[in-house]
Symmetry: C2
Subunit: 354 residues, 2 copies
Amino acid sequence: MVSPVRISIDAMGGDFGPSVVIPGCALARERYPDSEFLFFGDESMIRPVLDAHPALAAVSTIEHTDVAVRMDDKPSQALRHGRRRSSMWLSLEAIKAGRADVAVSAGNTGALMAMSKLCLRMMAGIERPALAAIWPTLRGESIVLDVGATIGSDAEQLVGFSVMGEAMARALFGVHRPKVGLLNIGVEEVKGLEYIRAAGQILREGNIPIDYAGFIEGDDIGKGTVDVVVCEGFTGNIALKTAEGTAKQIAEYLRQGMRRSLLSRIGFLFAKAAFDTLKEKMDPRKSNGGVFLGLNGMVIKSHGGTDAEGYSAAVALGYHLSRNGLMKKIEDGLGHYDRDRAVVAAEQAEVVDS
Amino acid sequence: MVSPVRISIDAMGGDFGPSVVIPGCALARERYPDSEFLFFGDESMIRPVLDAHPALAAVSTIEHTDVAVRMDDKPSQALRHGRRRSSMWLSLEAIKAGRADVAVSAGNTGALMAMSKLCLRMMAGIERPALAAIWPTLRGESIVLDVGATIGSDAEQLVGFSVMGEAMARALFGVHRPKVGLLNIGVEEVKGLEYIRAAGQILREGNIPIDYAGFIEGDDIGKGTVDVVVCEGFTGNIALKTAEGTAKQIAEYLRQGMRRSLLSRIGFLFAKAAFDTLKEKMDPRKSNGGVFLGLNGMVIKSHGGTDAEGYSAAVALGYHLSRNGLMKKIEDGLGHYDRDRAVVAAEQAEVVDS
């Protein structure tokens, strides 16, 4: 029998705390019976909600703490009053101590980022973490990273993101050789920013076993041209938010159009199934959950304002990544990359010597 | 009587050359009878199409040249074989010589950019040009710049873009005080890239008469939170292409959904008016035409693959900007900015002296 996936939950995170977090976990537990939960937060708030979900309660433990990171805390404030004692910190420490396989929080992104780095530390060979998002596309789903964990990047960091994103695609989509593309303006090798071109060269010419597909442009993301879209955090965040804005804009146009006349209202009723499909495909709750990559531990960030259904998607994401050995896959990928760097360094040394 | 708007046309530009360009101009001429056209290109190709549009022919002149910039020419190649003699170059030179008020080309962007800079030169006080796009929003339309004329920027350049974009919004939308926002990740003053924060400070504290609305995020573009969205060219290009990709993706979902069952097909017929409204709102032809800002002359870049309707939109854009005195408005705006810079420099000098 396989051992259960142990999920560590910051029960106080998000706009609604336990009232959304617990029902979300209950949904996830229904779908993945081989999961167990460790809740951190105010027991007086957690207990009554948990009691309403006996199947979940049967596989859950609560560890009480009074301290919670607020949604508007700056990272420095969160660290000052929440280090070692907040529900967020304790949920991370549970992975570090080997008591859980993955942590989930809907708490504030900056604070979660800062605490994760401090508590879990970066993996060897990775300088900066990345936040990886799941992006619905015409071909299914892609992974886009970094969508805003850090700002600014260099070629080596983009290559690191590529290795980690590729490992995540293998763990999540079950694809054997996911295609990886670098987000740029123009697809020709000579185009775009210097550090992106340099990253392209390493991915093309290095001995890293990645299916590198070259540069892609903004409109390739929605097409699903590649499985993994790699970019620097500022760019990724702008792309993600812009796409969200465009989707909302079109939904609003449709809503207005459908209300305009009796005829279009009737049409809407007939075509309701089609609209429901669209709604489901674009449902932000379904792709809820970003993954902090590059840490010694798996941390899932849920949207703060999501509902139980959305929260369960973030938990499911953590479940799948853990079940499919994301951490091991990343370590293997980085191992190849390190060997590649060592080979390059040795070759350069030889050139210097001769 | 007001004098006509004289439009200089690179007739060989774009994927289809005169066969799309001339009918596009004919459409624009119908809508704006006070326009005149100067066509540059292969007369043997232009003449037959022009003869089919007698009303346009009556206000048009053809100037023959054998040389055309190819769609896949690198900027350096285009300059080598097209300088002083290609239809693209000659259409620009016509503005420089005061023979036309605005130039329109559907030719390749990099070449048009390089030729425009060389032929027209940058305006005093502007280091880099910007490509400004019209972006349909829930509140109407906004201007987004730079969407890829150059890569990389500093604070002063973003302020220059703000001044030029604001002038364009006044000329195009007839708004007295357009709202200007800087595209960033997070809206707090402390967030985002250093040069964007510095530009925000100049716009907030300087004496530039611009209605500066602060930072905006990617999803604000589609909402129409501001009239003018200012960003560096790499970011702007990624945002534009990503939004285009998302719009196509949703259109495809809808198409698939509508074909799925007889019921949804019937629904589609009933609600056709609503879909037509959506289609019109998102029609890329309607917002065709980017403007190169910062040059001593107005240059409109049309999409290379557009049809006559789309081309006419680019011509209409040039017509309106010329009729509403864009160049004068930009010069006035930059004048204020220069005076602001002079005041700051003087204040700094005083501090040093005392």
